[in-house]
Symmetry: C2
Subunit: 550 residues, 2 copies
C-alpha cells in the first residue's frame, strides 16, 4: 500500500502518492502489514539475544549517518526498514538484557510494545482536552493513583480534586529532569510570590524579587549526592549553580542533618534565602535514601518547600516491606517519580506530584487559542506544551502489573542486590564500596594483597594505590562494555574509609527481573578474567611496583 | 504468553509469572501477537472513520477514570486492551481526520506506526551513547540535515562538526516549548557570561549577573503574536514575564520594526538589557512570518541573540517556491522547529538548531556517572535528561517522504488555504479576518446585512455588534466541536479594521493532505446550518435588536 515511490524516479512523487501514505491501509495482507510482522520478528530476535551491544566502534557507526543533505528522492518504506534493522537495530544497546546492569534504563514488559501502538496511532496531544479527550481524565487518574500511593489522602480528597477544573495533583512530563525543574520552579514562584505592590517573581523576575524581598540570593539545598538535574535546574531557573548548596553526606551517602542546619543559618546570615530543600529517595550513584522525616521537620521549621526526588526510589512505596525506608515522603510538598525507570514504561515519561492541589497555580499560564482560563486543559500547568499520551502506558502498567506485582519487582531487586553485595564482601579480589539500601550498589576490583596493603599503608601510599586502582577500574569497565556481553557503569565516590579520596567504582543498577544471581556472578567472573588478561598493562605494573615499594 | 494473571486470584501473582511478562514471546501465534493484530484492526477502523470525536461529555468520560487506588490485583492484558479500545480509543479525538482543521496536531503517515515499534522496543536513552549507540549518530545526522536545510553551510562545515565530541549543531527535545526555553537559556547565559572575576550567570544566577553587569533587568523582545511558551520561558528562566516585551504588529500580524527599535532604545535607557530578539516564522494564531531579514539587521546592530521560532513554519524551507518567505532565517543564531507538526512525526519531538556549533557550550553540564567531559553524549547540552529515540522517526520521514515530498505537502497546504480564503471572501455570510500567508487563516460568521451595518455604524454600535458576534462565534465553534464531524478552533484577535477591538474568530490550521476544498466547504456549510438553527438564541436576538436600532 505504501510502496508509492519508485526510487530516483521524479515522476513518481505526486500528490496522489503522498495522499496514500496518509491513508490507513485496508487490506490485512498489505505491504505495510507484512512489514509490521517482519519488524516484530526481527525485534523479537534482537531482544531474545542476551548480548548488551554488538562490538562496533562508534566512529565506524557514524559513517552510516554522515550525509547532511535531505534526500531529494524518496526511498521505499521497505528499503528504509531494512536500513533500520541493519544499521540501527543491530547497532543498538540491548537495554533490556539481563546483563545490562549499569544504568537506570529499565527492562520493558513486552505488552508495552503492542499497547504503545495505540498511543502512537491516536497521536493525542495532552496540552488540551480538544486534542486528547479521554486521555485527559486518564492522565489525571494516573496522577491520582500515584498521589494516593505517596500521600494517602482520603477518598473525599480525591473525589474533590481529581478532575477539578482549576486544580492539579501533579504534572506529567518527559522525564525526571523536567519534573525536578517544575517542582523547583513552583517552589521559587511560591517563595517569592505577589506581596503588596510586588506582582510576584513570575512577573518581575529574580532581580525584582530579590530587591523586593531584600535578599542577596535564593538557594536550594540538597546533599552532595543530588542528581545533576538539580544543578541544571538552578541554572535554568536563574538561581545560579552556586546557589544549589551541596550538603555533605555521611558514610551511608545520606545528608548530614547538622551540616544542613548549620548551612541554613549561614545562608540566612548572608541574607541568601533558602527556599527549597531536596531530599533524595534513591541516589543516582548509590541508591540511598535521605532521612526524609527529619528533613521534613527542618523544612517545616525554616519554611522551606520540601521536594523529594524519588525519580528512582518512588516505586518502593508499592512494597509494604520496604515502604518504611521512605518514611516522611508523605510530608513532602512535591515528589518526582520517573515512570520510565521503576514503573517499567518506555522512555520519555516522568511526573511530579504536589501534596496541595493549589501549588501548581504559581506557574499557571493561559493563551487565547488554547488552555483558556477555567478549562480542564492540563497544559496550563506544565513546563512543556504539546505532550504525547504516555500516561496511557503508565496506566496500563498499574492495571496489568498491579500494586502487588510492582511490590514483588521492587522486593526482588532489593534482595538480589543484598545477596550480591554480601557475596562481593566475601570475595578476595573485590571490595564492596557502598552497601545496597535499594537495588544499587558500588564495588571495585582490589586483589587481596592490595586490600591488605591499603589497610597498612600511610596516607601517601594509599593515595597512590587508589589512583592506580581507579585507572584499572576504568579500563576494566570500558573493556567489559566493549566485549558486549555485560554492562556495568562506573562513577567516582569519595568514601570516608579512604579519607574522602575520589575513587572510581563499578556501579550496579538492578532494574530487570530477568537479572539473576547467576548473571551477576558471570559479570564478576568476566571482570576477573579481564583483570587477569591485563597483567602486562602499565597500570597493573604500576600497582605491583607500589606494592613492592611498601 | 502474557496471560500470566488470573483475575482476583492472589496465588497467581508470582515472580515466575512476572518474569514471563518481561520475556519476548516466541510463538508467532501467541496471545500477545493476536492482541497486536486486533489492536491494529481496531485502530484502522477508528482511523478510517472521518469523525473528529464521538459525542461524549467529558464529565461522563471522567467516570471511567475515577478510582485512585492502584489495583491490588492484576488484570489480563487482553482485558485491559478491551478497556482501552472501548473507553480510550473510542473516546479519543481523531486528530488525523481531514475535517480536524483546528489545532497544530498534524496527520500521521501510516508508516510511522510500524516504525515506532522499533523505537519503543529498543527503548534507547539518548542522554548518552552507552544507552543509545547508533541512535546518537542518527540524531546528530538529523540535526545536521535540518541545520543544512536552514543554514546551508558547506560540506566541510558538516564534515567537521556533525559528530564532533565537544560541539553540537542543536538539541532534540520533547517539543517546541523546551526548544524555545533551550534557545533563550543559551542566549541568556551567553549574554551574561564569565567576565573577569564574574564566573557567569549559569554559576551566579541572575541577581549576581545584573549586579556585575550593572543592569536593572534583562529582556527578550518578540511581537505580540509570540507563542505563549515564550512568556513561560521568561518566567522559568527568571527573567520575569514583564521582561518578555511584546511589540505591536501591523495589519498582517508582523512585528512593527519602528516600534521594535524604539523599544530597544527605551529599554537601554532604563538600563534593562535586551539580550534576545525572537522572530516568528508562522504565528500560532494567524500563520504569519515576521520580516526576519530586517530583524536580523536590528539584532546585529544591537548585539542581540536572534532566535527564530519556526516551530510551525520551519518546514516551509523544503519548498523552493515558498522558501523565500523565510528569508533571513539563515542569519538566526538559533531556530526552533517542531517535528510533530509539519514534519508529520508522532507527538513529542521538537528541536532547536544553533548556527554556531559552540553556542550550546554555555549550558553544558557534566556528571561523574554519565555525560562526562569529552564524551559524545548528547545529554551534556540538553535541558532534558533521559530522552527517547524519536529522532529515528524524523529520520524516517526525511528519507521516505524526502525533500520533494515535504515541499509538495507544504505547497498543497498553502495553496488550499489561499483558495479557501478567497472563497470565504466571496461569501455573503462570512468574513475573512486574517489572510493566509502559510496554511493558517481566520474568519468569522457575519451575515451580509451585519457586514453592511458594521461599515456604517459609529464606534459604539460597532463595538456592541462585535461583542455579540464574538459570543455567537464561540457558540458556533463549541456546537460544531460537539457534533463531532469537524473541528475548527477559535482565538481572539484585535484587527486594525475594528479599532483593535478584541473579536473572537474561527482559526483554520491545515496540516493534513487529506483535507480537500470539499471538506472545507462542508465545514463552512455546517457552520451556516448551525447559525440558522440558533435563530432563537439570545445572542441572535440581541444581534437583530442592534441592527434594528441602527
Amino acid at each position: 500500500m505504501v510502496e508509492v515511490h519508485k526510487k530516483n524516479s521524479m515522476a513518481e512523487i505526486s500528490m496522489e502518492n503522498l495522499l496514500r501514505i496518509f491513508t490507513v491501509p485496508e487490506a490485512p495482507g498489505s505491504t505495510l502489514n507484512r512489514l509490521d510482522t517482519d519488524i516484530s520478528a526481527n525485534l523479537a530476535g534482537f531482544l531474545q539475544e542476551h548480548i548488551v551491544a554488538e562490538e562496533a566502534d562508534l566512529v565506524k557507526i557514524e559513517q552510516d549517518f554522515n550525509d547532511t543533505r535531505v534526500p531529494e528522492d524518496p526511498v521505499f518504506v521497505s528499503e528504509h526498514t531494512e536500513f533500520l534493522l541493519d544499521k540501527v537495530v543491530a547497532q543498538s544497546v540491548h537495554t533490556s538484557s539481563p546483563s545490562f546492569v549499569g544504568h537506570m534504563t529499565s527492562a520493558l514488559p513486552y505488552f508495552m510494545i503492542p499497547l504503545s501502538k495505540i498511543m502512537i496511532a491516536l497521536n493525542q496531544n495532552l496540552v488540551k482536552t480538544e486534542t486528547s479527550k479521554a486521555f485527559t481524565p486518564l492522565e489525571r487518574q494516573v496522577l491520582g493513583m500515584l498521589h494516593r500511593l505517596t500521600y494517602g489522602e482520603s477518598t473525599e480528597f480525591y473525589d474533590t480534586w481529581l478532575h477539578h477544573g482549576r486544580k492539579r495533583l501533579g504534572a506529567f512530563c518527559s522525564g525526571g529532569t523536567v519534573a525536578n525543574i517544575t517542582a523547583l520552579w513552583t517552589a521559587r514562584n511560591r517563595a517569592f510570590g505577589p506581596d503588596g505592590d510586588f506582582p510576584g517573581i513570575n512577573h518581575s523576575g529574580i532581580f525584582g524579587a530579590m530587591r523586593h524581598y531584600g535578599c542577596e540570593g535564593a538557594a536550594v539545598l540538597v546533599s552532595d549526592r543530588g542528581h545533576y538535574s538539580l544543578s541544571k535546574s538552578a541554572d535554568v531557573l536563574g538561581i545560579g549553580r552556586e546557589n544549589l548548596i551541596a550538603i555533605e553526606t555521611d558514610s551511608c551517602n545520606r545528608i548530614c542533618l547538622d551540616a544542613l542546619e548549620r548551612k541554613i543559618e549561614e545562608l540566612k546570615q548572608q541574607r541568601i534565602r533558602p527556599f527549597a530543600l531536596v531530599g533524595i529517595a534513591g541516589t543516582t550513584e548509590t541508591g540511598n535514601i535521605d532521612p526524609l522525616d527529619k528533613m521534613a521537620d527542618i523544612a517545616e521549621a525554616h519554611g522551606l518547600h520540601f521536594h523529594v526526588d524519588a525519580a528512582w526510589g518512588g516505586p518502593t512505596l508499592f512494597s509494604n516491606r520496604y515502604r518504611p525506608l521512605l518514611k516522611g515522603i508523605e510530608r513532602a510538598d512535591s515528589v518526582t517519580i520517573d515512570a520510565h525507570k521503576q514503573l517499567y514504561v518506555p522512555m520519555g515519561v516522568g511526573l511530579v506530584l504536589f501534596r496541595d492541589p493549589s501549588m501548581l497555580e504559581s506557574i499557571e499560564h493561559h493563551a487565547q487559542y488554547i488552555i483558556r482560563q477555567g478549562s480542564k486543559d492540563l497544559g496550563s500547568t506544565t513546563l512543556e506544551g504539546s505532550r504525547p499520551g504516555m500516561a496511557m502506558l503508565v496506566h496500563a502498567g498499574l492495571k496489568i502489573i498491579s500494586r502487588r506485582g510492582y511490590a514483588m519487582l521492587i522486593e526482588n531487586g532489593i534482595e538480589l542486590a543484598r545477596r550480591f553485595a554480601d557475596r562481593i564482601a566475601t570475595l578476595d579480589d573485590f571490595e564492596l564500596v557502598s552497601e545496597p539500601e535499594l537495588n544499587i550498589f558500588t564495588y571495585r576490583w582490589v586483589p587481596a594483597e592490595v586490600q591488605a596493603r591499603l589497610r597498612e599503608a600511610d596516607a601517601g601510599l594509599r593515595h597512590q594505590i587508589n589512583e592506580v586502582l581507579s585507572r584499572i577500574t576504568q579500563t576494566l569497565q570500558k573493556e567489559q562494555r566493549e566485549r558486549g556481553k555485560a554492562f556495568v557503569s562506573r562513577t567516582r565516590l569519595t568514601p570516608e574509609c579512604y579519607d574522602q579520596q575520589a575513587i572510581t567504582v563499578f556501579r550496579v543498577v538492578l532494574a530487570n527481573p530477568l537479572t539473576t544471581d547467576e548473571v551477576l556472578r558471570e559479570v564478576i567472573e568476566e571482570q576477573r578474567e579481564l583483570a587477569a588478561e591485563m597483567y602486562d598493562n602499565a597500570d597493573m605494573q604500576a600497582l605491583r611496583a607500589l606494592l613492592a615499594q611498601a
